[in-house]
């Protein structure tokens, strides 16, 4: 399949010309926000901010599910591991590579492993499930973060575990929903003229899942893919709408995203999870933004078996501005700790840890902007 055209320099130049013309005709500052770590990667890696006209600003919102996972949930899971050990139960804890390193005032899962606990990094919840199938005498718990794109695989695997009656596999769900976070930012006063919707979250929820942000809050949106040409086209389409005064939602990523999304995945998520109010690290409690397993499947949630009171922990270290970065109010270079006290080797805040964290992406590609 020859789709390298989406990285094509000439096509990108052409779109940039279009962007410049639209920006000139708009004639004022335009703030666009995206809410996806992979979009930030495309923007920063391709130097897109430096190519855009001066009056077009791209902000990065809460696009990293690992960054927004509450510190107290990580600490609670660590306490569950300790409690289980005292009771003589062996738990294998699995999670993703970036989640493993996220710092809290009580340490990280990496620290837990250095204490001698069995903590393993997996690429997929499927890998975690396969460990459970193999090591039947141990309990395997997957600490399961992620937005809709990761929730779908979690729901798929859980469904199979439930159908097959696999009892030694459980999760700690810290799944979160993306549109309610955007809604919360709007309500809290983050102002932006257009939203670039995350392509892969949209693969699951469809264009349909975002529509209410346009109809209820008057924000133009474009669902965009992840190649440089995709993102530039997304910017162009938004600017064109803004210039014409149109308030619509358009789909740039038609090669993957359908209007109705992946209905099968939505059905499975809905069958297993209930939508609840949930805390986001550095953003507070966001109504109807979290997912917890339905009552009838509570046996697959580790917190059903270990009652640990979540410790009170600060969301962020003093001086860390991950909160403002996640709200789309600041970029990493505005942080006094960025690149000095806070680096990927010694991260102070969550946005410097994850591959999808805005700070790590800025650090990795040189933070030229």
């Amino acid at each position: 399949m020859e789709l390298s055209i989406f990285q094509d320099k000439e096509l990108a130049q052409k779109i940039l010309q279009g962007i410049k013309r639209e920006a000139e005709r708009i004639g004022r500052e335009v703030k666009l926000m995206h809410v996806c770590g992979t979009h930030e990667d495309t923007v920063t890696r391709s130097g897109i901010r430096s190519l855009l006209p001066e009056n077009v600003k791209v902000m990065s919102g809460p696009g990293c599910p690992v960054c927004i996972t509450p510190a107290e949930d990580i600490a609670t899971m660590m306490e569950i591991m300790r409690m289980a050990k005292e009771e003589g139960e062996e738990i294998i804890l699995t999670t993703f590579g970036d989640m493993y390193k996220i710092p809290t005032a009580m340490g990280s899962f990496a620290d837990l492993r250095s204490e001698g606990f069995d903590v393993r990094i997996v690429y997929s919840i499927y890998d975690s499930y396969k460990i459970a199938l193999k090591e039947k005498d141990k309990l395997v718990v997957h600490f399961s973060p992620g937005f809709e794109t990761t929730t779908a695989p979690a729901a798929g695997i859980l469904k199979e575990a439930i159908d097959r009656g696999i009892e030694n596999f459980k999760i700690y769900s810290v799944h979160r929903l993306t549109p309610p976070a955007v809604e919360a930012l709007i309500k809290q006063g983050t102002v932006f003229d257009g939203l670039i919707d995350p392509g892969h979250v949209s693969t699951i929820i469809g264009v349909k899942g975002w529509e209410y942000i346009t109809t209820e809050y008057g924000v133009p949106q474009v669902v965009a893919g992840f190649e440089p040409v995709d993102f530039l086209m997304g910017v162009f389409m938004l600017l064109r709408m803004i210039r014409k005064g149109e308030v619509k939602i358009e789909n740039q990523y038609t090669r993957v995203v359908k209007y109705e999304g992946n209905v099968e995945a939505q059905k499975t998520i809905k069958a297993l999870f209930d939508v609840v109010d949930a805390k986001w690290r550095a953003l507070g409690v966001i109504p109807k933004s979290g997912l917890e397993l339905k009552k009838e499947y509570k046996d697959y949630e580790i917190r059903t078996f270990y009652k640990v009171k979540p410790p009170e922990l600060p969301d962020l270290e003093k001086g860390c501005i991950c909160g403002a970065i996640l709200r789309g109010l600041a970029l990493p270079t505005q942080c006094p700790l960025f690149g000095k006290k806070c680096t990927p080797r010694n991260p102070v805040g969550p946005c410097m840890v994850s591959y999808e964290g805005t700070c790590q992406i800025f650090y990795k590609y040189g933070a030229l902007f």
């Binding site: 399949m1 789709l3 055209i5 989406f6 096509l11 052409k14 779109i15 279009g18 013309r21 996806c36 770590g37 992979t38 990667d41 990293c64 599910p65 690992v66 993703f96 590579g97 970036d98 989640m99 690429y123 997929s124 919840i125 499927y126 890998d127 973060p145 992620g146 937005f147 794109t149 990761t150 779908a152 695989p153 798929g156 695997i157 469904k159 199979e160 892969h200 693969t203 699951i204 086209m233 064109r240 740039q252 038609t254 090669r255 993957v256 995203v257 359908k258 992946n262 099968e264 995945a265 499975t268 994850s354 591959y355 999808e356």
Partner: protein, 74 residues
Amino acid sequence: MCLAMPAKVIEIKDNVAIVDFGGVRREARIDFVKDVKVGDYVIVHTGFAIEKLDEKAALESLKAWEEVMKAMEE
């Protein structure tokens, strides 16, 4: 963690496919893309194919953009 990648389906057995990410082969669950066939391209996220990649739609979108850009130049 959220990095979803296109991959080519090489082999299918029940609800698990072997997919090829430009040379690297891995297993991917296909629970959510039921009508997928060997040779199709899929978007894979944390071990799950979450959608098929539609080449025709991709090429059509390029054509549609070209028309918009042309109209703007006039």
